[in-house]
């Protein structure tokens, strides 16, 4: 459902041009859980920004659900983003003035859903993700892990095709991280959500079924979990990271 073909991204101002992405190509099938790893400066955030239509590419094409997003106008892109993409950020990005319930329902409201249906859908997804108790609370009243689960709910409530996560476990402690990753696995397996997660944490990446490694804007390596248990996959990821370079602090 996502096809990235030979994309390039140049960043330029007055006199300096940087090549952030160099002919990156890969496919994501519906229902896959993909992780993209790389050191800082490898281009992974740029890649995510390009796929999520926040940034435009310099060359190549990106096809989401069969639609070539590189040719869409600003307005059509916004509509596409609103209806088909869900986002989970490292710093949660929930609106502090709305309750958790309202935060999740915001997506549906923006998509012009009937207000009566909104509540029902919110309660349904809250139940699936285990956050029914905090629905009436405000973001500052709940823990990081719960906030991130709310963000996940918000990202999937409108039946979006693709969930894009940018370092979702970055601001969480190890227990909350484990919790969130298990929730995401659940979303992937039960709700058939297609997830694209950018991370520099090998532990998070090991929950994915496929890991793509970026180095200097290029696709460096690809690992598939297959039928192997997660700890084995985790060690294989660490091996690749050792070759990729970067300090140990990039791994944690």
């Amino acid at each position: 459902m996502l096809q990235v073909k030979n994309i390039e991204k140049y960043y330029g101002n007055k006199n300096q041009v940087t090549k952030a992405l160099d002919r990156v190509s890969f496919d994501v099938a519906a229902g896959e859980f993909i992780a993209i790893m790389g050191a800082s400066g490898s281009g992974k955030t740029t890649l995510l920004n390009c796929i999520s239509t926040i940034d435009t590419i310099s060359a190549g094409s990106i096809l989401l659900d069969g639609v070539d997003i590189s040719g869409l106008s600003d307005r059509k892109l916004a509509k596409f983003r609103r209806e088909r993409l869900g986002f989970v950020f490292q710093d949660f990005n929930l609106l502090d003035t709305l309750t958790i319930e309202e935060n999740i329902g915001l997506t549906l409201s923006l998509n012009h859903q009937n207000p009566k249906n909104v509540q029902k859908q919110v309660e349904k997804i809250a139940h699936t993700l285990g956050i029914t108790e905090i629905l009436k609370k405000f973001p500052y009243q709940v823990s990081g892990g719960q906030k991130q689960r709310a963000a996940c709910a918000r990202a999937m409530v409108a039946k979006q095709s693709l969930l894009l996560a940018d370092e979702p476990t970055g601001a969480l402690d190890s227990k909350a991280s484990k919790n969130l990753l298990e929730i995401m696995t659940q979303m992937n397996q039960k709700m058939k959500a297609t997830i694209l997660m950018v991370t520099h944490d090998a532990y998070s990446a090991s929950y994915a079924s496929r890991v793509l490694f970026l180095k200097d804007g290029r696709l460096f390596n690809e690992l598939l979990k297959g039928t192997r248990p997660r700890p084995t996959f985790y060690h294989e990821i660490l091996d690749v990271l050792a070759v990729l370079g970067g300090d140990i602090s990039d791994v944690i």
Partner: protein, 336 residues
């Protein structure tokens, strides 16, 4: 953009404004407004109008200068559409958006072409690598045959090797600077290597090689220089006359060393002499002899210019050909 260019662009608008103001002034005067008031209104309008037009002009000119300087500073100018600011007005934004999409197709085309070339080159390099094995094996098998067969086979094998080496160097010649290792070498050593690599050919062609005054040190990349010398030797051996002699000598110039490879072969007709360095040029001699690719001297020209070696050719038909390579010595390095 000059003021007159800006003015001529807006001429229609300015004329309309002026005409309308004139009509309004006339109307006001005819309907009883005092001349003084009309004059005052007119002056206010004129002032504001001039002010706004000047501001517009300065802004447009600054914007164009900025774009020109961005284009100037870019190495790969086709990336222009990625480096310009989005534009203030909606018209500018829609305009630049169209250009961005056009630029996107251009960047994609350039990138695809470069990738195809790179893949082809990598394929050639791996081919050359692989083919060395059967050639070496054939060489070894040669040893087990009788002397006559061995001699003939090794001659053919050395020709194959020469062609393979040329293919490799051709593939690398796009970016030979990636493979440069400049250091000090003795000319006699480089010449000896070239002769040794092509000794089978030289022996088969009955060529006598004389060397003179080669005890000079030069700064260059040994591998590429030996390759060039090899090409020159091959040419001298191919386009030879009876009793062929190749004379390789060197002499010192100010800060440089000039190496001359001279033969007494069939020479090159004067009307073809200036074209021998063109890619694929085989000339009348190449046709007469057959099997010429026209690539050898083209590669020499390419490599020599990248290594800052001056390559010159001189020839007289039926008398001989001489090529000179001018190398740099230490004294000139600080200038470079």
């Amino acid at each position: 953009m000059t003021f007159s260019e800006f003015f001529s662009d807006r001429l229609r608008y300015i004329i309309f404004q002026a005409v309308f103001v004139m009509i309004s002034a006339l109307f006001l005067l005819l309907t009883g407004t005092q001349t003084g008031i009309v004059l005052l209104l007119f002056l206010i309008w004129l002032l504001l109008f001039l002010l706004i037009q000047t501001m517009d002009f300065l802004r447009c000119r600054a914007k164009l200068l900025e774009l020109a300087s961005i284009l100037d500073g870019l190495d790969k100018k086709y990336l222009f559409t990625e480096c310009i600011p989005k534009g203030r007005t909606i018209y500018e934004r829609k305009f630049t958006e169209l250009f961005r999409q056009a630029g996107m197709s251009m960047i994609g085309a350039v990138s695809d072409a470069e990738a195809a070339k790179r893949e082809y080159r990598e394929y050639v390099e791996s081919f050359v690598h692989e083919i060395k094995t059967p050639i070496t094996a054939a060489n070894l098998i040669c040893r087990m045959t009788d002397a006559d067969t061995r001699r003939k086979l090794m001659q053919e094998l050395s020709q194959i090797e020469a062609q393979i080496e040329r293919v490799l160097f051709y593939a690398r010649a796009e970016h030979p600077e990636k493979d440069f290792l400049i250091s000090q070498h003795s000319l006699s050593e480089l010449v000896a290597q070239a002769i040794s690599q092509h000794r089978t050919l030289l022996i088969q062609s009955n060529v006598r090689v004389e060397t003179k005054d080669l005890e000079q040190m030069v700064f260059t990349d040994s591998k590429w220089t030996v390759f060039m010398l090899g090409q020159l030797l091959q040419n001298a051996a191919r386009y030879r006359s009876t009793h062929p002699v190749i004379c390789i000598s060197a002499r010192q110039l100010k800060g440089q060393v000039e190496l001359t490879v001279k033969d007494n072969g069939i020479g090159i007709p004067s009307h073809e002499l200036s074209r021998v360095f063109e890619r694929g040029f085989t000339g009348s001699n190449g046709r007469a002899l057959g099997g010429s690719t026209g690539i050898g001297l083209y590669l020499c020209r390419k490599i020599s210019s990248l290594l800052e070696i001056n390559l010159q050719i001189n020839s007289t038909e039926d008398v001989g050909t001489s090529l000179t390579l001018t190398f740099w010595t230490r004294e000139n390095l600080t200038k470079m």
